[in-house]
Structures are given as structure tokens and as C-alpha cells.
């Protein structure tokens, strides 16, 4: 240092100046190091924090697509309602967290202030419903049912209602035009859950927090198509949430329209007739139990035989699907899911299973043919069948002598099938089954599509049950402990059954096979399975997957038809199918079990085939089954605890056919046929994807006079179930 001598400064000061300089620069280097650490080493982390800090996504949900019937009549659409919403962001910025505004709002809407506040609180694990589980940046709907007056009050005084909007908004509606509710077929929507958001995160249709998701029925199966894509605009916002710029706009796509094969008019008829049939049968007394029929539930399916398309599907008890719109109330939900209401959410056409009873005999007859019994040979239809000292009676213990299998269908003769079932069981080795046992009856049942889902485009279809050897074994494995505990030799009937089951419930017994041959015992089928099977007999043997959806029409007018798909062929040749068809035709002709319900039907013009069924269910009244088809349609109806097949379901099925083909009870055309031929065309689609809805008139049920059977010469036909 050249200046030391000149300054004459002491070394102490000189050293301290150096110390100061070192200190100063170490401070600067500390800052530089920290800066490097924050910006270079951990930069990404903070960059991410910054992004989430200042971008807000505003979601404009896509208008959900409509569900139309085959002619374009809306089954589910949207209506514009005045929705009053509150912006949480705005309210929370107020000194009192929006309390004053919400209280004023409650006054205008005639609600309790607490109710309004509950609606806009955010859901978390500790918050009971009602609460909002969408994004806090979304306007939260306070009511979907504001009157014009209320909306005007809010909109005219924006200074009194900051953060509150009253906007016309599209809300789901199930209009039930012409009385076609189709509640279980359509299903319902409810808000998306966190779990679903997580699951759908990386798929091509991620959920938004504001989404309503189809929970059941068509709304669920075609959720993706109907939902469309919401418009998401990302705004850059400042610390007060003020918008500073738009970063990204994801254009929305309105939901596609789903054209279904449902015909709203036929649907209305089916719903009405099913309900009416159940009402009627509840007036009748069951001879076996001596009580009035319960008729607790029922279903009817109308299907195109050549495509598997569902024209109508009704299930009782039903409900008004509009209960779900805008969030279901606690009371409604409890009612819809309670035992007292007998679970109206269930679609009994695909989720109700019962023993098939005699409508199963087409399967047994086919099995017999496959096993080598000629269709037209004579089989003894005795009044009862004896097996090991036990007697199995025919219906009303009536015999018909030696008859063909076709006649066995006509008279619904049990003993013929008892014998065939028993014989086959013996041929397969009885209790010691052969290794290569044919199991024709069980195999044929499976190949008729029973014991498995039909693949209908509705969620949660049940598979029914074919109680073959394998099933017997696994069922026994699952239940033997309980049976063995409950079973008691020489005890009550139930205890004795349990005792026997405990010992040898794993064996397929002769008794099981005899029962199975007439669709009794442990066999369970669904109406949709039977409709599919009977449609296959009608169309020459193809088992179609039943479909409700017919075409998806996107908003740009693009039409994507849902083609019919088959899942199998009947396991019999064309000759046998034609034999079965002849036998089923005899059922509605004089002497057949359903003849008394189809008096006056123009069998020569519209040949009708049918099979009645009266299934016994342990501890319950009998289940009524009626499976029918024409060349174009099949109708299968069932009423649980409703009595006999033709007795309970007959008139309803006849009325549905009458309405579809436009016939009076004596077979004369009324000129008002609803659907004499399946709807081949899609409704005309406008270039913008919209579809003009045709007019629809509610179903006018026939008057008692119109229902009177035609007067015929000779004695009235024998009533026979």
C-alpha cells in the first residue's frame, strides 16, 4: 500500500478497514449464493408455485346433449331456468364475508339465511350436506328455481347484491312427453366426486370439478358423448383476483345428442300398461296363498327382434327422474333408496331376476332336440311325474296324453320336460357324473345367453344364474357352514332342507334337473335375457346385444350410428328354430295357454308367438311371465308376485301390441298404429346437429268397452295359464 506512509495511519485502522471490506464482500457473496439457490437450483419449484398463484380457470360447462327417442322426441333435454348463483371469491373479499349480502338474498328468495350460507360453503370431510364441492372459483348455484320477479330484483340492484348473479342457465330436464318417463332407462346425474376426478385425470375426457356425471342408465353409459367438453378459459389474475389477461381458452364442445331406439309413444303405453296390470292383479286373490297378489314389482321390454334395439323398457316401481335435478334433497334420496318404496331406482328389466318358469321351456325343448329327442316324436304328457317316490304334478294336474314337443309348449306341459330332464340327468351319470357329461339342458341354457349379461348398453346389468354342477359346488362351498349350523335332522322343513344341503348340497340331484327343465329351482333370469332369447328365435337364431342407443349426433351434425352387435347364435339348427316357432304360435291359438288372452288377434296377418310362465318362488307368490314375439317385435313382461303368466301379464301385452299395430280387440285396424314396423330411419338431422321433435300425444288407454273380448260363435275359450 503506497499510501501508508502518507496517511501515517496506524496498522490497527488499516487492518480494520481490510476486515470491513472482507465482511462487506462476504455479505454480497452470501446474497449471490442465495440468489443462485433460489433461481437456478430450485427455480422450477417456484416457477410452478408462481403459475398456480396467478392463473384462475373459469369453466363454462358444455350444455349436455339431449336424449331423444327414435323419432326425435326428447326423453331428456335441458331447460332454461333462472339460476341464482353466488361468487365465493367476491363474497369472501367483503368485510363480513358476504353475510349481509346473503341475508338480503335469502330475503328475496324466501329462504332462510342459514340455508343460503350452507349452500355456498365448501365441502370438506367435516361439512355435512348441503355444501359445494365444485371449484370455489365457480359461481355456486343458490337456487335453480328463481322466479322472474326474484331475478329482476337481484339484477336491478347490483349494488345490493355484489357477487350475486341471476342468469338463465341450462338445467337437465326429463320432460316425460306423452307420459314416457323411462326413469330407470335414462338414469340420472349427480356431481362428480374427487375420486372420479383423480381417476379420469389422465384420460382423454378428464372431469372438471363442476361436472355432473351420469350415475345410471343412458346418462351413465353415454356420459362421455352427452357431456361434451366444457369451455375452460384460464385467466391471469392479480392478487385480488382481478383479471389481467387471458392466457388460454379451451373451446368447449356441446354434448352430442343421443338418438335412442326407444319410441316414446310405445314407452308410454308400456309404462301405463305395466302399472295398470299390476294394479289390476292386486285386486285378485291368489288361490294358493289366499291373499291378494302383492305385485310388488314388474318389468316389460319391447324389442326389435332383428336388431336387438329396445323400443320400450319399463320397470315398476318407478319414480320421477327430475328429483335428481339441481341436487337431490335428503328426503327424496331416502325415499328412493328405502325398502318401503321397493327401490324404484332399480331397472327390473335388466336388474330384476327371477326363476323363468315355463317360458324356459324353449330352452328345454332345444336341449332335448340336441340330446337326440326328435321334436315331433310323441312324449307322454301325464298328469304327474314320479321320481323316487316323489310326485311332480302338471299344472292343475292335467294330462294331455302323448304329444310332440311343440304341443308341450302349447299346453306348457311340465311332465314331458320333467321326464326329459330326468332322463338326461341319468344319461349324464346321475349323482356320479361322467367325465364327458353332455349336460345338454344346462349347456343349452347358457348358449341361449342365460346366466350371463346380454351386454345391453345400460350399466349394472345382472347375469342371472344357471345352476349347473359347477355352480352347485361353489354355492355349497360358500354356504355349507351356515347350512350345517342351521340343519337339523327331522327338524322343521327349513332345518331339514339345510341338513340335506349341508350333507350333499354340492351334488346336482335328479330333483334339481327335473326342476330345471321347467325353469324352476335355482335358475334366475332377467327379462332382458328372455327378450334377447325370444328375439333370437324370431330372427332365426341371432342373439343380439340389446341396445337403447341408436345414434350419436354431434353438434356439427355428424351422425354416428350404433350398429346392432350380436353376441351369439342359438345352439340349434334352423329346423329346430322353426319347430319352436310353430309350437309358440300354437300357444296363442285355440287350446294354447295364452289363447284366451289373444282372442280376436289377426293371427293370419300378424302371426304372434307366445309362451306363458308362472314361476314359483319359495315363500312368495308366483311370478308372472309372458314372452311373446311377432316377426318384428318381441315383448317380454314379468310381474313379481303377480300370479300366472297369461292372467297377470296377458292383457297388458295384448294392449301394447294393439297400440303398436293399431288394432282393436277384435283385430280391426284403428288407423292409429304407433309402430307397425320398426323405425328404420333416424330422425332428420339439421346441419347444426339439431333434431326437430315430432308431436306426441299421450297414450289414451282403451276403455272397458273397447277391452271387451270379441263375441265369438261357440263356447268361450278355455282359460288356461
Amino acid at each position: 500500500m503506497t499510501n501508508i506512509p502518507e496517511t501515517g495511519r496506524t496498522p490497527r485502522v488499516q487492518i480494520r478497514l481490510v476486515i470491513i471490506q472482507v465482511l462487506v464482500f462476504s455479505l454480497l457473496f452470501t446474497l449471490g449464493g442465495r440468489l443462485w439457490y433460489l433461481q437456478i437450483r430450485n427455480g422450477n419449484e417456484y416457477a410452478h408455485a408462481a403459475r398456480s398463484n396467478h392463473v384462475q380457470r373459469v369453466v363454462q360447462p358444455a350444455v349436455r346433449g339431449a336424449v331423444l327417442d327414435a323419432r326425435g322426441v326428447p326423453l331428456a333435454d335441458n331447460e332454461t331456468r333462472l339460476v341464482v348463483s353466488a361468487s365465493r371469491t367476491d363474497l369472501m373479499r367483503m368485510k363480513d364475508k358476504g353475510k349481509a349480502v346473503l341475508t338480503r338474498l335469502a330475503g328475496v328468495l324466501d329462504m332462510k339465511p342459514q340455508d343460503v350460507m350452507d349452500k355456498i360453503r365448501l365441502c370438506d370431510s367435516k361439512t355435512p350436506k348441503p355444501c359445494w364441492n365444485g371449484s370455489p372459483y365457480q359461481p355456486i348455484p343458490v337456487t335453480l328455481e328463481a322466479t322472474t320477479q326474484q331475478a329482476l330484483q337481484i339484477r336491478e340492484r347490483p349494488e345490493d347484491f355484489p357477487g350475486i348473479t341471476a342468469e338463465p342457465t341450462a338445467v337437465r330436464r326429463y320432460p316425460a312427453l306423452g307420459g314416457a318417463r323411462a326413469a330407470q332407462v335414462l338414469g340420472y346425474l349427480s356431481p362428480v366426486t374427487d375420486e372420479e376426478i383423480q381417476q379420469a385425470k389422465n384420460t382423454d375426457s378428464p372431469h372438471l370439478r363442476s361436472d355432473q356425471v351420469g350415475r345410471s342408465g343412458i346418462e351413465r353409459t353415454y356420459d362421455k358423448e352427452l357431456r361434451g367438453k366444457a369451455q375452460v378459459t384460464s385467466y391471469e389474475v392479480d392478487n385480488l383476483g382481478r383479471v389481467m389477461g387471458q392466457t388460454k381458452s379451451d373451446p368447449g364442445v356441446a354434448g352430442s345428442t343421443l338418438v335412442t331406439s326407444i319410441d316414446a309413444r310405445v314407452q308410454a303405453v308400456a309404462e301405463y300398461e305395466l302399472a295398470q296390470a299390476m294394479k289390476t292383479v292386486r285386486q285378485e286373490t291368489d288361490n294358493i296363498t289366499g291373499r291378494k297378489y302383492e305385485a310388488d314389482s314388474g318389468a316389460v321390454v319391447v324389442m326389435e327382434t332383428k336388431t336387438g334395439r329396445v323400443v320400450a323398457m319399463a320397470s315398476q316401481p318407478d319414480y320421477d327422474p327430475n328429483a335428481w335435478v339441481g341436487g337431490i334433497s335428503g328426503a327424496d334420496y331416502a325415499r328412493l333408496t328405502s325398502k318401503d318404496s321397493n327401490f324404484p331406482l332399480l331397472n327390473r328389466a335388466i336388474q330384476g331376476q327371477a326363476p323363468a318358469g315355463s317360458i324356459f321351456k324353449v330352452v328345454s325343448a332345444s336341449a332335448a332336440v340336441r340330446a337326440g329327442y326328435p321334436f315331433d316324436s310323441k312324449y307322454n304328457c301325464s298328469a304327474s311325474y314320479n321320481m323316487g317316490g316323489r310326485s311332480f304334478a302338471n299344472f292343475e294336474s292335467k294330462g294331455h296324453g302323448p304329444i310332440t314337443l311343440g304341443e308341450a309348449l302349447k299346453f306348457s306341459c311340465n311332465t314331458v320336460f320333467y321326464a326329459l330332464g330326468h332322463e338326461e340327468w341319468n344319461r349324464d351319470g346321475g349323482l356320479q357324473p361322467k367325465k364327458d357329461a353332455h349336460d345338454w339342458f344346462y349347456r343349452t341354457a347358457r348358449e341361449f345367453g342365460l346366466g350371463a349379461e346380454t351386454g345391453i348398453d345400460l350399466p349394472n346389468e345382472v347375469s342371472g344364474r344357471i345352476p349347473d354342477r359347477q355352480w352347485k359346488k361353489s354355492f355349497w362351498e360358500a354356504n355349507k357352514d351356515a347350512w350345517c349350523k342351521q340343519g337339523k335332522k327331522g327338524g322343521t322343513y327349513v332345518e331339514q332342507i339345510a341338513y340335506e344341503n349341508c350333507l350333499e348340497g354340492n351334488q346336482l340331484k335328479a330333483f334339481d334337473s327335473i326342476n330345471f327343465a321347467i325353469g324352476q329351482g335355482d335358475v334366475l333370469v332377467t327379462p332382458i335375457q328372455m327378450a334377447t332369447a325370444y328375439a333370437a328365435i324370431s330372427n332365426g337364431g341371432t342373439l343380439y346385444n340389446p341396445t337403447v342407443g341408436k345414434a350419436v349426433v354431434s353438434p356439427n351434425g355428424k351422425v354416428e350410428t350404433i350398429e346392432p352387435k350380436a353376441h351369439g347364435k342359438l345352439p340349434v339348427d334352423a329346423k329346430t328354430i322353426s319347430d319352436l316357432d310353430k309350437g309358440l304360435r300354437m300357444v296363442v291359438e285355440p287350446g294354447g295357454t295364452a289363447a284366451w288372452r289373444f282372442v280376436g288377434w289377426p293371427q293370419d296377418k300378424i302371426p304372434l308367438r307366445a309362451k306363458t310362465g308362472t314361476a314359483q318362488v319359495y315363500g312368495k307368490q308366483t311370478t308372472s311371465w309372458l314372452a311373446t314375439y311377432t316377426d318384428d317385435f318381441t315383448i317380454v313382461m314379468t310381474i313379481s308376485q303377480g300370479g300366472t303368466g297369461s292372467g297377470a301379464s296377458g292383457p297388458a301385452v295384448r294392449n301394447i301390441y294393439n297400440a303398436m299395430y293399431g288394432l282393436t280387440m277384435d283385430g280391426k285396424p284403428t288407423g292409429k298404429a304407433l309402430l307397425p314396423k320398426p323405425e328404420a330411419q333416424l330422425p332428420p338431422v339439421q346441419p347444426d346437429g339439431s333434431i326437430q321433435a315430432p308431436e306426441i300425444k299421450p297414450y289414451v288407454p282403451p276403455s272397458p268397452e273397447e277391452l271387451a273380448p270379441p263375441a265369438l260363435a261357440g263356447p268361450p275359450p278355455l282359460r288356461h295359464d
Binding site: 501515517g8 490497527r12 440468489l35 433461481q39 419449484e45 398463484n53 392479480d238
Partner: protein, 399 residues
């Protein structure tokens, strides 16, 4: 020896025009420390851009004129430059005589804050509103006068050649003179400024050559004082919260930790090159409070990135480095002490300000010299630069 008187100093001075005088080898202009001057100027100009960026959207501050703060900052810089030129023109030696008066004046000003003349801004009752949108923060000027009065006192007998180091009595006197305004500032309470003043006093004592006991004693006393303040609860809740949030910024990200957290997000988000001036989302989104003053460094961090931050730190480094050179080069202890006091002031205030922006120092309301918006701070800083330049200009020619 009488011969000595025979030498006569030539009174001859060649007549030179003002321009020639300014460009002469020994002229003020040629002796100025340009690296320091230009660095300070660059910092002020960068500061004007950062302040502008931070306030463009803050309508509640800029009275609807997005450039309001840009012009104000440039105006402050201009006034600061004028003050610097004035200081150089007067010279620190000339000012030495006026130091007691300046000290007295600053003491009066700072005391006036406690009278109804004072105003509270951001929790500190540290301002005198002059009117016309101007307000004064006397504690900024006190920083200078403390340096000057202590330097004058401590250097008096040393520069006179009486002593090698200031004696204890002088040190006590000097400390008392420093303590008076510091006590008043403490009452405001403007803890940040008090901290700076303590460090200034430390730097002054170090450079004065006062006994090690004083230096260590002051450090000890400072620590004890800090503990005492904490224990006695002199601090307001907001100050305690700031410290708590410093210790754990995640503690209350919406409350006391908000500033720290948002500042760190802004800086961290900048990366190497930053998002570009006016393009920082944290800045344009006004997520960082007090961004034109205490948190101005976050604008640099976010919009100019690591490179911009390093440039600012580098420029501050140049200023401090030059100040250190000036402190060493001057022949008189007075100049050395003044320079050291200014170094301590700039260094600590920069460290505290940038440090709190980076989350390594607790939040205290201190401006970043040159860069932060604020007239009083800008004026004081440029006066200090003027003092340093004056010391530099009046150093021996050989140095």
C-alpha cells in the same frame, strides 16, 4: 534558518477558462470516482424501471398514471445528483465545520416526527408529511449526521496529530451523540433504521481505531439490547409476526408470512433470465406487497432473473468496493471514518433488504439503496455518495 523565507511560493496562475479548469489534470471532474458514480447512476436507473414495473398496475398508488413512479424516481435521482454535486462542491472538509449544526437540525427533524407533524406509514411513525405529495423520512438523514458527528468528534484529535487513537472519553461522547437520535427513532418505532444505525456506529468505531473493547462491547450491548427488546415486549405484534414468519414462512402464508412467501415465489420464478421487464406474473399480478420499496428486488429477480439480480448485486459491489478504496486512500482519519460509516450503512442496508427479499433475513422496512422508491432514502444515499466523492477528490494527488 532565515533562508527558508527566501523561497516564495509563486502566486502565478495561468489564466484558464472554466472549461479548461474543469478539464485540468487536477480538476474535480477528473478526480471524481467514475466507477462508483456510474454504478450508482446505473442502479438508480435500473431502480426506476423496476419501480415502474412494480407500480404500473397499482392504480391505488399511481393515481391513474402508470408512469407516475417512473418519473418520480427519476426526479428523485436527479435531485439526488444535485445534492451530490452540491456536497462535492462544498467539500466534506468544509462541511466538517457545519456538522454540529447539521446534527442538531436532523435531531430536531427526527424529534418532530414524534409531534403531531409526524405521520404513520406501514406501522412506523417515521414520516413528516410536507404536502404536495411529498413526505420526509428524517431517519434517513440521521444516518448521515450520525456518521458525520461521530467522525468529526473521533477524528478531531487524531487528525490534529495529538493522539494515535481516540481516547475513551471521546468515544463515550460520540456514542452518546449517536444514541440520542437512535433513541428517538426507536420510539417511532422504526426498528430497521435503528439496526442500520447500530451497524453504522460499529463501522465508525472500527474505522476510528477505537479500542477493541469498545467494538466488542458495542456488539455485546447490541445483542443484549435485542434480547431485552424482545423480552420487554417493546415490539409491536406486527414486528414479532415478521420475525416468526421469517423463521417459518410456511407458518401463515396468507398473513405474516405472505410477503416473504410471495417474494420468494417471485424471485424463484424468475430463473436464469427472468420473464422480461413488465412480464413477471407475480409483479403484474401485484402479489408482492410494498414491491416498489422494500421488495423492489423481487421485480429484478422475477423479470430480469438471476442475471439481473447479479448485475444489481455487482453494481452495489462496485460502489462498496470503491468506497473501501476511498476509505483506505484518504490521508485523514475523518474521511476514513466517514467512508467506513457509509460502507457499513450501504452494506448492511443492502444485505438486509436483499436478504429479506431472498428469505434469509427477517422482514424490516428498509429500502435498497439507489433502487427502492423513496425520496428521503435516495437523497441521503446521494449525499453519502457526494461525501465519498469529496473525500476522493480531496485525497492527496499522489494517491
Amino acid at each position: 534558518m532565515p533562508t527558508a523565507n527566501k523561497f516564495s511560493v509563486s502566486r502565478y496562475e495561468p489564466k484558464k477558462g472554466p472549461l479548461a479548469r474543469l478539464t485540468a489534470r487536477d480538476s474535480v471532474l477528473r478526480r471524481l470516482d467514475y466507477p462508483m458514480l456510474l454504478s450508482g447512476l446505473a442502479l438508480s436507473l435500473i431502480g426506476s424501471l423496476l419501480v415502474w414495473s412494480a407500480t404500473r398496475h397499482r392504480d391505488y398508488l399511481n393515481q391513474g398514471d402508470p408512469q407516475y413512479f417512473l418519473w418520480r424516481h427519476l426526479l428523485n435521482t436527479g435531485i439526488g445528483l444535485v445534492l451530490m454535486i452540491g456536497t462535492v462542491w462544498l467539500g466534506h472538509r468544509t462541511l466538517r465545520g457545519a456538522v454540529p449544526v447539521l446534527y442538531g437540525l436532523s435531531l430536531l427533524l427526527v424529534a418532530a416526527v414524534l409531534t403531531p407533524l409526524g405521520a404513520t406509514i406501514n406501522g412506523a411513525h417515521a414520516w413528516i408529511v410536507i404536502g404536495g405529495g411529498f413526505s420526509l423520512q428524517p431517519s434517513e438523514f440521521v444516518k448521515i449526521t450520525i456518521i458525520l458527528i461521530m467522525a468529526a468528534l473521533l477524528a478531531a484529535r487524531v487528525d490534529a496529530g495529538d493522539l494515535e487513537h481516540p481516547e475513551h472519553r471521546t468515544v463515550v461522547k460520540a456514542l452518546c451523540l449517536a444514541a440520542a437520535p437512535m433513541g428517538i427513532v426507536m420510539l417511532m418505532p422504526d426498528l430497521g433504521s435503528v439496526m442500520v444505525m447500530v451497524v453504522i456506529v460499529l463501522g465508525v468505531l472500527l474505522a476510528s481505531g477505537a479500542s477493541n473493547r469498545w467494538v466488542l462491547g458495542l456488539i455485546g450491548a447490541g445483542t443484549a439490547g435485542a434480547i431485552l427488546i424482545w423480552q420487554l415486549g417493546v415490539l409491536d405484534q406486527y414486528q414479532i409476526n415478521r420475525f416468526a414468519a421469517f423463521a417459518n414462512p410456511a407458518l401463515d402464508p396468507a398473513g405474516a408470512g405472505y410477503n416473504t412467501n410471495q417474494a420468494r415465489i417471485a424471485i424463484g420464478g424468475g430463473g436464469l433470465l427472468g420473464s422480461g421487464l413488465f412480464k413477471g406474473p407475480q409483479t403484474t399480478g401485484q402479489f408482492v406487497p410494498e414491491q416498489q420499496t422494500d421488495f423492489v428486488f423481487t421485480v429484478a429477480g422475477e423479470e430480469l432473473g438471476f442475471v439481473g439480480g447479479i448485475v444489481i448485486l455487482g453494481l452495489l459491489g462496485v460502489v462498496l468496493w470503491r468506497a473501501c478504496v476511498i476509505a483506505r486512500e484518504t490521508t485523514e482519519l475523518y474521511g476514513t471514518i466517514v467512508a467506513a460509516g457509509i460502507i457499513a450503512w450501504f452494506a448492511f442496508q443492502s444485505f438486509e433488504n436483499v436478504g429479506m427479499n431472498l428469505g434469509i433475513m427477517p422482514v424490516a422496512g428498509l429500502p435498497l439503496p439507489f433502487v427502492s422508491y423513496g425520496g428521503s432514502s435516495m437523497f441521503a444515499v446521494w449525499v453519502a455518495i457526494g461525501l465519498l466523492q469529496s473525500i476522493r477528490v480531496q485525497r492527496p494527488l499522489s494517491a
